[in-house]
């Protein structure tokens, strides 16, 4: 384990009530880091839900990007964080089907939650990130190269990649900006987006493995990392039931 892991750090993870975000929050908290986790649900008891005193949950509904960014900035002020070492902007939503059947609301929801919100949150946390010379990590998707079954989702993820590419240069001396593109992972994302995955789910990357790969990429301070190359046939030896709704 790298030496810098020993120090307790301030970590922000969005979309942390499920899937990759939840596992990432638990993983960082279990190593003693202080985590602010966000989601749009109302949780009755943070400790019961996350099982770690290191995780503080705040409600930040990204369908209202300005309000979500403000809520996150206010929470950090409340916890008296002087700096932010790591921000993982992971929250996203999807819709699948023929592009001509997508309604204006479905299009604008995905753009707002997947792109506008991360942009405004990045802006809101910039001063704290600069103070720590921290790391801003976007969770993209391998769909960012184009996907006919979920065109708008793919577009929002490509948008994130374009944002990261340019911002990384802008912030070069002040903070590290990177994007990680997970391939198909055994989370509830597909079911929520209305995609029936069937038997191919066997080949999806187990969530825990994706989380380990994401942490590795963060430690390496990669610029851009595509995870699907790291999974494959070995996935079929673990339970494909994981994350099914």
């Amino acid at each position: 384990m790298a030496r810098r892991e020993l120090k307790s750090r301030n970590v922000l993870i969005t979309g942390a009530t499920d899937g990759l975000g939840l596992e990432l929050a638990k993983a960082y908290a279990s190593r003693g880091h202080r985590v602010v986790a966000t989601g749009r649900q109302l949780l009755s008891n943070d400790l019961d839900f996350f099982g770690s005193p290191n995780i503080s949950y705040i409600r930040a509904d990204q369908s209202e990007p300005e309000a979500a960014a403000r809520a996150i900035a206010q929470a950090m002020e409340k916890f008296q964080w002087q700096s932010l070492d790591l921000a993982i902007l992971n929250a996203a939503t999807g819709w699948t089907g023929h592009a001509a059947d997508e309604t204006p609301e479905q299009i604008s929801d995905q753009i707002t939650i997947n792109l506008t919100a991360p942009v405004l949150i990045s802006k809101a946390i910039a001063p704290l990130l600069f103070a720590a010379k921290g790391q801003l990590v976007m969770i993209g998707s391998t769909a960012a190269k184009g996907q006919s079954q979920f065109a708008t989702y793919a577009a929002t993820k490509a948008g994130l990649e374009g944002f990261v590419r340019s911002l990384r240069e802008e912030w070069r001396t002040r903070a590290h900006v990177q994007i990680i593109h997970p391939g198909p992972t055994r989370t509830k994302m597909h079911a929520k987006a209305g995609l029936k995955t069937g038997f191919v789910r066997m080949f999806f990357m187990p969530t825990k493995r994706a989380v380990r790969a994401i942490q590795r990429s963060i430690r390496n301070r990669d610029g851009k990392r595509v995870l699907s190359k790291t999974y494959g046939w070995s996935s079929i030896f673990s339970s494909a039931k994981e994350g099914e709704l």
Binding site: A69, A99, I107, V119, G146, F163, S166, W171
Partner: protein, 253 residues
């Protein structure tokens, strides 16, 4: 031929509109700039159908879609776009919301709803105007770059499903053009004569659309930018930082 052009009153959109009108086509010109729309209506002696719409406003987009409900278009050019340049963290959030609404949400909604409403004639073409920033990055306009990358990937994603319904998709990646838009968002010392004339760019785009081309990289140095952008993306964005971001002395949005 019937065409719909957004952002049709000025710059590149105006050049395309003028050329189509000159060739005797019917043009539906969409813009939010009333003065420029008036000018277009007068100069075309009433032959251009001008439609006032603010693409940052969802209900204005809905009205536009209702207005054209019974029209069958042969060509749709989703050209309207704005930018925001400067230091990312200093530009107000509202400016980013507007930028994303106009550059990304509007073209996606208009394209998908025209398909849904059966507004596209058989063998028609939808053209998305992305940017050469798709190849080289754009430090100093990271959210603009995000919208243009998103647009490029949307075009790529819908190409097959739209083709099955008889509609072709062209993605255009224009380099710098000599328009008010470019003037407004570029560093002060940038040389205008290095930018392509909007009339020349318009000609190339309309030609590519009529041939059903999938992609068009156009403008001075666009080919080289595409090549090196793919070969050495990080080097290209570093170079873009030097020629643009480091020279921007104010925020424009």
């Amino acid at each position: 031929m019937k065409a719909l052009i957004t952002g049709a009153a000025n710059g590149l959109g105006r050049a395309m509109t003028d050329q189509l009108l000159e060739a005797g086509h019917e043009v539906w010109a969409v813009d939010r700039d009333t003065d420029a729309l008036d000018d277009l209506a007068i100069k075309s002696r009433g032959s251009c159908r001008v439609v006032l719409a603010d693409l940052a406003n969802p209900s204005s987009i809905q009205r536009l879609l209702r207005d054209v409900k019974d029209v069958k278009f042969d060509l749709v050019v989703l050209n309207a776009g704005i930018s925001a340049t400067g230091r990312f963290e200093e530009i107000p959030g509202a400016a980013y919301e507007k930028l994303i609404a106009i550059n990304l949400t509007a073209p996606l909604v208009v394209a998908s709803q025209l398909m849904r409403q059966n507004n596209m004639a058989p063998k028609s073409q939808i053209v998305f105007i992305s940017s050469l920033s798709h190849a080289v990055g754009y430090p100093g306009a990271s959210v603009y770059a995000a919208t243009k990358d998103a647009l490029a990937i949307y075009a790529k994603s819908v190409r097959k499903p739209f083709k099955k319904r008889g509609v072709g998709v062209t993605a255009v990646f224009p380099g710098p053009i000599r328009t008010e838009h470019a003037e407004r968002y570029s560093p002060k010392d940038a040389k205008a004569n290095k930018r392509m004339l909007p009339e020349d760019m318009a000609k190339l785009i309309l030609k590519a659309a009529s041939k059903g081309k999938k992609e068009l990289y156009a403008g001075k140095g666009a080919g080289a930018a595409k090549f090196f952008g793919k070969l050495a993306p990080n080097m290209m964005s570093k170079m873009m930082r030097k020629v643009i971001f480091d020279k921007l002395d104010s925020n424009t949005y």
